[in-house]
């Protein structure tokens, strides 16, 4: 008798349903800062490398940092890391080509 009552308790359907969490697809409009900073970082890196402008290369590092700070965990880390590497390589190449210090306009 005890066994059947226990079985009934076990088989008694729950009055609720357990649903899994479904992450909503992130739209870029929610927070577009990481994307913008990534894009600017790449543009600055290219300008620093091709046009040998030192301040562009330094700006690229800042853009990569800001993009990293605002990045979401759901996003791929590779893009952020590649942005970092590109900006660092831009700085290194500009200084190898011209080791003189950065000159300010004032």
């Amino acid at each position: 008798m005890e066994g059947t009552s226990k079985l009934q308790e076990v088989e008694k359907p729950k009055p609720y349903k357990v649903n899994r969490y479904e992450p909503k697809p992130e739209s870029a409009l929610d927070d577009a800062i990481p994307e913008y900073m990534n894009l600017f970082g790449m543009v600055f890196s290219m300008c620093g490398l091709m046009l040998k402008i030192k301040w562009c290369s330094w700006c690229a590092i800042f853009c990569a940092l800001i993009s990293f700070a605002h990045s979401r965990s759901s996003e791929d880390n590779k893009q952020v890391w590649s942005s970092f590497m590109l900006s660092i390589s831009s700085v290194v190449m500009t200084y190898l080509q011209n080791p003189a210090p950065l000159i300010t306009p004032w």
Binding site: K17, V43, F62, L65, H70, R72, A100, L102
Partner: protein, 475 residues
């Protein structure tokens, strides 16, 4: 706007590169040009400034004056020019600076056996010259330090909130904290870190609701620029609770801080469609004048939702409430592009959305306990709203309202569908005509032409028949 900013950026860079190139060029070679100029000018300076001139040691053959010739009778080998220091300079009379060619010096100098290698100064860049790079390095390190401090602060706020609310949530829900990557359904009792300033907790397994999503949207303390902006325009950490209901009667209700309610009315599709524009003050229920109420069915719904228990808790924690939004037609924010009409009617869900403000001076578990009554209230509202039954009239009104919205949407899409069909027909006719024009065989061309003519005639006849039918009906 994105393209404009990119174009502006590229123009600035191009301008700078042009200016910097010249500047760098000047800097690279400036010193050498300076020295070259100095070396070039020295002989000219010597010829022009007669007062400073020294005794020349160059033998210059010249036509001797008669007086000189007489004096130097005994010395016939060398023609030596002696400078008479009487204040008068002979060279002033006879000297022609243009005739003097410094190039003639060098062979004589070389002949003399003196080789002077010009000393080019080695430009050694000491580290003090790199002060701009040092400043940039310091700024980067400050940013990184701020990132570490900010992200750890946000983490401590999230963990203190979880610590205070976990027991209550475990009592109410079977699943507290879900890892979507894990195939098994198991409570993690941990928040998901979506980013450095956003933490999420999913709870499910309770009667009357499909699940509760808790989002901690904190200030971006990890970014130094956002920190500065937050000091200029102060903001709050926010706790957003979104509960998906299984059943509820049809109504839309929202209340909260006036600016938040206005923002809801402006941005949310269901509030803008069903609630109208008339904001009601919350003073009637004992709230401060800053609290506003907006409801589809004013009166019955407001008094049913804001009963004595709920109103009491809300009054006590009024400063923490940002907005409360209860809707059976929730479909998210309005479309950004107003011209774009949606192809199909958006899916609606029954939700309770509560947004609470966490004052920035809080950071400990003790202060997080003050939020617990409002979280308990949100779970209490699940049962209350599910059991809430509107009167027949109110329900009829709400259903009629929904029917009107549905028809309006169908009309919009009907016009769209008609336009799409018309475009398709026109495209087909154009293709047929092109095919006929390109057809080489005259027989086939004639046949295609006949088909086109017949189709156009049929269309005209149909239009005429429709016109006659309308006339008959009107008669």
């Amino acid at each position: 706007m994105r393209w404009w900013s990119i174009a502006l950026l590229l123009c600035l860079l191009a301008y700078h590169h042009g200016a910097a190139g010249d500047h760098e060029k000047d800097d690279e070679f400036a010193e050498f040009e300076q020295e070259f100029d100095d070396s070039m000018q020295k002989p000219k300076v010597a010829t022009e400034k007669s007062d400073e001139r020294e005794k020349p040691n160059i033998a210059i053959p010249k036509n001797p004056s008669p007086s000189e010739f007489e004096d130097d009778d005994n010395d016939d080998d060398d023609a030596v020019v002696e400078v008479e220091d009487d204040g008068k300079d002979e060279f002033d009379e006879d000297w022609d600076p243009e005739e003097f060619d410094p190039a003639e010096e060098t062979p004589q100098r070389a002949a003399a056996g003196e080789l002077k290698i010009a000393k080019v100064p080695y430009r050694h860049n000491s580290w003090t010259n790199y002060y701009v790079e040092i400043v940039i390095g310091v700024l980067i390190s400050i940013y990184l330090v701020n990132f570490l401090i900010g992200s750890s602060k946000n983490n401590s706020i999230a963990s203190s909130w979880l610590q205070t609310h976990l027991e209550f949530l475990k009592d109410q829900f079977e699943l507290v904290g879900d890892d979507p990557t894990n195939q098994k359904t198991a409570s993690t009792h941990q928040m998901i870190k979506e980013s450095e300033h956003t933490y999420i907790l999913w709870c499910s397994g309770r009667q009357c609701c499909e699940g509760m999503l808790v989002q901690l949207k904190l200030l971006k303390r990890q970014d130094i620029i956002s920190n500065i902006v937050n000091r200029l325009t102060p903001g709050n950490d926010q706790l957003q609770i979104s509960i998906h209901l299984e059943h509820m009667d049809p109504f839309v209700f929202c209340m909260g801080q006036k600016r938040s309610v206005i923002a809801l009315q402006k941005n949310m599709t269901d509030v803008s469609l069903f609630c109208g524009d008339k904001l009601r003050s919350g003073e009637k229920f004992g709230f401060s004048p800053s609290i506003a109420i907006l409801s589809e069915l004013a009166g019955e719904v407001v008094t049913s939702v804001l009963d004595t228990k709920v109103a009491k808790v809300l009054r006590e924690h009024e400063h923490l409430i940002d907005s409360i939004h209860i809707s059976d037609q929730f479909s998210g924010p309005k479309l950004v592009d107003q011209e774009e009409v949606p192809v199909k009617e958006p899916d609606t869900t029954k939700v309770i959305n509560i947004t609470l403000n966490i004052p920035t001076e809080w950071n400990g578990a003790e202060s997080m306990e003050n939020l617990l009554p409002l979280v308990k209230l949100s779970v209490y509202l699940v049962d209350k709203i599910t059991r809430l039954r509107l009167s027949k009239e109110s329900k009829l009104r709400a259903d009629r309202h929904r029917q009107e919205m549905h028809l309006r949407f169908l009309k919009q899409t009907h016009a769209q569908r008609q336009e799409a069909a018309q475009l398709k027909r026109e495209e087909k006719d154009r293709q047929m005509k092109d095919r006929m024009m390109n057809e080489e065989d005259p027989e086939k061309q004639r046949r295609l032409d006949e088909i086109i003519q017949r189709r156009e005639l049929n269309k005209k006849n149909k239009r005429m028949m429709k016109g006659r039918q309308y006339k008959v009906k009107s008669m």
